[in-house]
């Protein structure tokens, strides 16, 4: 079900235009990075550590260097001071920052760490030569378990730190001890947000090439962040930023995995400059799974305090977050992105938040769709269900009792965020109606009464999130190294076409279509005449790129402001040409007309031509019609929604089946409802996948056991039901277009909905938690444990 809106007022915003970019994306007739072939290219292959933790005692590259087609073999000794990545978010003053070398020289810290690289004239020959490199490792104990890592006497991932504790941050809002002292009920639970492997369809790929006689190096890379990457590459390599041009060609998905600066990018740039030849590297899927950053991986100790009538008093959150072996771009900040969201949509007097980052000999973690907010939402939505169970209350009723009522907005919640708008009542009412809530509860009761081997559970998630990162000064206060602004330039060409230059960098989101719709409404030029330019620092020099559901929420504001500047200038031009005062000009759908004399008019296209010829423009006006804007957002935006899942659980086999899923989201004004629908569907699939299918597993020696898609299960369409979706619309009051983010909402909301449903199905058997993913074995074990007397 979709809620596509066909508008009759001629406005483009709100119209489900087909995506302009899909023709080339779906047919593949476009430039993915790996399609780029330059003469003289040297292909890079990486030799990765086969062990998680070891000293490198000897490395012999002579046979590889002598092999057919091999141009060079490099080890850490060749680049002793070159770092492979950098962390832009040192979250505390006393954080211990483990830096990742571009190539390891004396020791390796995770299975997948790079120990050598081969450059060869063909990719196949480069990979063949890897087999000829001989490395001797002196194994060290692998640090795999976060809690053991924090014990005294543990092996340390980085010996010079003397600890595996990366940082600890405690932020008390309100007085939790006082809140707890007033409580009738205190519920504690330990939730595990398992490690996930972000899996975009296109793996990482980079081509770095010196350009002709200039000093410029162009880097084509499958990234979400060409602008940020350019700055970081300049800082890490020492190459003048003006000589680095970063291009994100069409990018096949990211989900946070491409919000990163990677050692392969750094090495490609350095080698292209050193050798004067193009360097190309594309990872394989198995290589991706061990070397591209992972997501989630938190132990969450959660305590909630409430009165017997169900009033929530306070929440205590104690997290251990696995950093992996090194800090990458926002590794330590990722769990903290959820810090403000643990209270969810609920009012409470206290929130005590603690997070400890822990080093282990595993692939580094970093942002993955939702980044911190899925973990927070999982914790609060799970613990609220547990509280409802303890109190014997209907879980929806408990939520209604505690959530912020629609008339209470704007509402400053316990962590200090001011939610501008929201209507949890409306979204929940619609979801309950679409779901057939009462009928399913009746069926559940019947199955329980008959002892059906297939039990039914109803999972609830009433979530909100913060997106559109963020006012720059807020980011600065959080020790984040960059700002949160966004840029747009709109140029109207002499023939009346539009070049819209955005600093956002789409990798599947449909910006070319949605940005055209926004601009079209403002400047009155049809969407088909608008070209959106993005992802190339040569053509779009300013931007903060795409992540955190920020592109529309922040970038959309810049489009609006730039468009209004175009219209402002065009109005002066039109008034000059029509020989009236600018105050007497009306503008509608691309036409400037004189108030009271509509026959007297001109079009914005005609104005653009006049601005180009500049034969007759006002004395104090510059030629050409363009406008630009760099906007720092006033605040985050807070989309919300109510998701309901009907889960069938086969109590004999542990098999979980998602029977019905309803998602009612409120993302404010929808620019293109079809694109919103797509974001919701994809987000749901990803969040449901965490709950039911995905999970990275390591053995005791730190080897990734789920290093192929045979072991790491991703759902396909056939594993998911048809989602039932709808939207309520509560426009944001802090965002000029009334929009909020939608890129991550489905992922954030759906994971707890699924697990709440599974646990609800199994309550009669004494189960109060199921480890994710809710695989048959995990569910069966939870049942066995509960039946044998203990909770899971």
């Amino acid at each position: 079900m979709t809620s596509t809106v066909e508008r009759t007022d001629g406005a483009a915003i709100g119209r489900s235009d087909r995506r302009k970019e899909d023709g080339r994306l779906l047919t593949g007739r476009t430039n993915w990075t790996d399609n780029i072939q330059l003469p003289g290219t040297l292909h890079m292959a990486t030799l990765r550590s086969s062990v998680a933790h070891a000293r490198i005692t000897r490395i012999d590259t002579s046979a590889a260097a002598a092999a057919e087609g091999v141009f060079a073999v490099y080890t850490g000794a060749d680049f002793p001071d070159l770092l492979g990545t950098t962390c832009v978010w040192p979250v505390t003053d006393d954080i211990k920052t483990a830096t990742m070398p571009a190539i390891c020289s004396d020791k390796v810290s995770f299975a997948g760490d790079v120990v050598a690289i081969v450059l060869a004239t063909e990719k196949y020959l480069a990979v063949d030569a890897l087999d000829l490199i001989d490395v001797d490792y002196e194994p060290l104990p692998a640090v795999v378990d976060m809690e053991k890592a924090l014990e005294a006497g543990s092996t340390n991932v980085h010996e010079d730190f003397g600890t595996n504790q990366c940082f600890t941050m405690n932020v008390p809002w309100g007085d939790y001890a006082a809140a707890k002292a007033k409580a009738d009920v205190v519920v504690t639970r330990r939730f595990i947000n398992q490690r996930l492997i972000p899996s975009p369809m296109e793996p990482r790929s980079v081509v770095a090439a010196p350009m002709g006689m200039s000093d410029e190096i162009t880097i084509w890379t499958s990234t979400q962040i060409p602008h940020v990457l350019r700055v970081l590459l300049a800082l890490l390599t020492g190459i003048n930023e003006n000589n680095l041009r970063v291009v994100a060609p069409d990018v096949g998905g990211g989900f946070g995995a491409k919000l990163q600066i990677n050692r392969e990018e750094v090495l490609s740039v350095v080698l292209a400059k050193k050798l004067g030849r193009p360097i190309k590297w594309t990872e394989g899927r198995s290589e991706h799974m061990v070397s591209t950053h992972h997501g989630r991986d938190q132990i969450q100790d959660i305590e909630i305090a409430a009165t017997s009538d169900g009033t929530i008093l306070g929440l205590k959150v104690d997290l251990k977050a696995d950093m992996g072996a090194y800090l990458q771009i926002i590794t330590p900040g990722t769990p903290l992105l959820g810090m403000f969201m643990y209270s969810g949509i609920y009012k409470m007097d206290a929130l005590d938040f603690t997070c400890t980052g822990v080093y282990t000999n595993k692939t580094p973690t970093d942002a993955y769709r939702g980044a911190g907010r899925p973990e927070a939402t999982y914790a609060i939505e799970r613990i609220v269900d547990e509280l409802a169970h303890e109190l014997g209350m209907e879980p929806l009723e408990l939520r209604k009792k505690n959530w912020i009522k629609h008339e209470e907005f704007p509402y400053t919640q316990i962590a200090g965020l001011t939610y501008d708008t929201g209507n949890y009542e409306a979204a929940t009412a619609r979801a309950v109606e679409l779901f057939g809530y009462d009928e399913l509860r009746a069926e559940q009761a019947a199955r329980r009464a008959s002892g059906d081997k297939v039990q039914l559970g109803i999972g609830i998630s009433t979530f909100t999130e913060m997106c559109g990162l963020a006012p720059s000064r807020t980011l600065g206060a959080l020790k984040y190294a960059a700002g949160g602004w966004e840029h747009c330039t709109i140029r109207v060409t002499p023939t009346g076409k539009v070049e819209l230059v955005t600093g956002t960098s789409p990798h599947g989101q449909g910006h070319e279509t949605a940005w055209s719709q926004i601009a079209s409404d403002i400047i009155g030029i049809p969407v088909e005449d608008i070209e959106v330019v993005h992802g190339d620092t040569g053509r779009a020099p300013y931007g903060m790129d795409t992540y955190g559901s920020r592109s529309l929420a922040v970038g959309g504001q810049a489009i609006k402001a730039a468009g209004e500047r175009v219209v402002e200038k065009a109005r002066l031009m039109a008034a000059h040409q029509l020989e009236v005062s600018p105050d007497d000009i009306e503008f509608s759908h691309g036409t400037f007309s004189v108030k009271g004399d509509p026959e007297k008019s001109t079009t914005i296209q005609a104005v653009a031509w006049a601005a180009f010829t500049a034969h007759n423009i006002p004395d104090d006006m510059e030629p050409m019609l363009a406008g630009e804007s760099t906007v720092d957002p006033q605040d985050f935006s807070y989309p919300h929604g109510t998701h309901l899942a009907a889960m069938e659980v086969d109590t004999e086999t542990g098999m979980v089946t998602l029977r019905k899923y309803v998602a009612v989201d409120d993302c404010g004004v929808q620019v293109n409802p079809m694109i919103v629908e797509g974001q919701v569907h994809g987000g749901l699939a990803q969040g449901i996948a965490q709950a039911m299918f995905e999970g990275a597993l390591y053995d005791a020696d730190g080897n990734l056991l789920t290093a192929s898609m045979g072991e790491y299960l991703l759902p396909s369409a056939s594993d998911l039901p048809s989602f039932i979706t709808d939207r309520t619309v509560t426009p944001s009051t802090t965002h000029p277009l009334g929009t909020k983010g939608i890129g991550e909402a489905g992922t954030i909301a759906s994971t707890p909905a699924i697990i709440n449903g599974v646990v609800d199905a199994l309550r009669p058997l004494g189960v109060n938690d199921v480890f994710m993913p809710a695989s048959p074995q995990n569910v069966w074990r939870a049942i066995q444990t509960a039946q044998n007397g203990g909770a899971a």
Binding site: Y124, M655, E711, D719, S775
Partner: protein, 284 residues
């Protein structure tokens, strides 16, 4: 990943394939649909020097009706097994199971013979062959020989087919008047079976008069559930009797633990799923 270099020989006849293998020596591998072999090569788990492609050999691409049995060419694709009118009519268990193998793309490339000779313990089609006592026609330098299913599957990824031999076809008996069902337990549509059960039963006058049952992924090879069969035959075709008989399903199994399931869970599943497979085969 990308494979090491290898030579490629496309054989037009079985004799040509056998000759090519003899010439290449023990580092040669037979290539059917490539759905198991190519991932092995790309992950560099194996590096054969010669691939002998048998997918275009006419004799191996057809299904022959021999009266009481069907001789299914080893290079017949899984998709063709799924849709072949003769197989659907006479060995519906095989057609049903073929439809549960992996995904449509793999079913169109992968072959029945390839699945059997690859002998992955998680493969579905070998289990059906074992349950039905299929016969395997193997060609080698010394001519042709026939091996029964009980001797064909030797160990993990190991069959009776020698390095210089080619599996030509699989003879599957028709089971007229039998009910059959393959119960595949897996987490996503494309995933391997955690446990699978192939069951064929004959029900006459409310009693089970014949039973053929084999299990997937509970040992190094497909495991014939002989003690379940013995417990079923002569008993009533009721859910209760079948469930009781299925408690013997773990006999003869030696399940291993992997990322999807530990051995004890596989043992539990073997019993539950055997009961369900037999009940469905019996029309209950």
């Amino acid at each position: 990943m990308i494979p090491s270099a290898f030579d490629y020989v496309k054989a037009a006849t079985v004799d040509e394939a056998v000759a090519a293998l003899a010439e290449a020596g023990e580092d040669a591998k037979v290539l059917g649909g490539g759905q198991s072999l190519l991932p092995v090569l790309r992950l560099r788990l194996n590096a054969p020097t010669v691939l002998v492609d048998v997918s275009g050999i006419d004799e191996m691409r057809s299904v022959a009706d021999e009266g009481g049995s069907l001789l299914i060419g080893a290079a017949v694709t899984t998709y063709e097994v799924m849709n072949d009118a003769g197989i659907k009519a006479s060995v519906p268990l095989l057609a049903q199971t073929a439809g549960l193998v992996a995904d449509p793309a793999i079913r169109h490339r992968g072959t029945f013979g390839g699945s059997c000779t690859h002998a992955d313990p998680a493969g579905d089609l070998p289990t059906v062959a074992r349950a039905l006592d299929a016969e395997f026609v193997i060609a080698g330098p010394g001519g042709r020989r026939t091996v029964g299913a009980s001797d064909f599957f030797v160990d993990y990824f190991t069959t009776a087919v020698g390095p210089d031999e080619v599996l030509v076809g699989v003879r599957v008996p028709k089971l007229d008047g039998w009910g059959a069902h393959y119960e595949k337990f897996h987490r996503t549509a494309q995933a391997w079976a955690i446990v699978g059960v192939a069951a064929a039963v004959k029900v006459e006058g409310g009693s089970i008069t014949g039973a053929r049952i084999a299990l997937t992924n509970v040992g190094p090879t497909p495991v014939r559930a002989s003690s379940v069969e013995a417990a079923l035959v002569g008993g009533p075709a009721t859910v209760e009797a079948i469930t009781a008989a299925a408690q013997n399903a773990a006999d003869g199994t030696s399940p291993t633990s992997d990322t999807h399931a530990a051995a004890d869970f596989r043992t539990h599943l073997a019993k539950v799923l055997t009961g369900r497979a037999v009940a469905k085969a019996a029309g209950l």
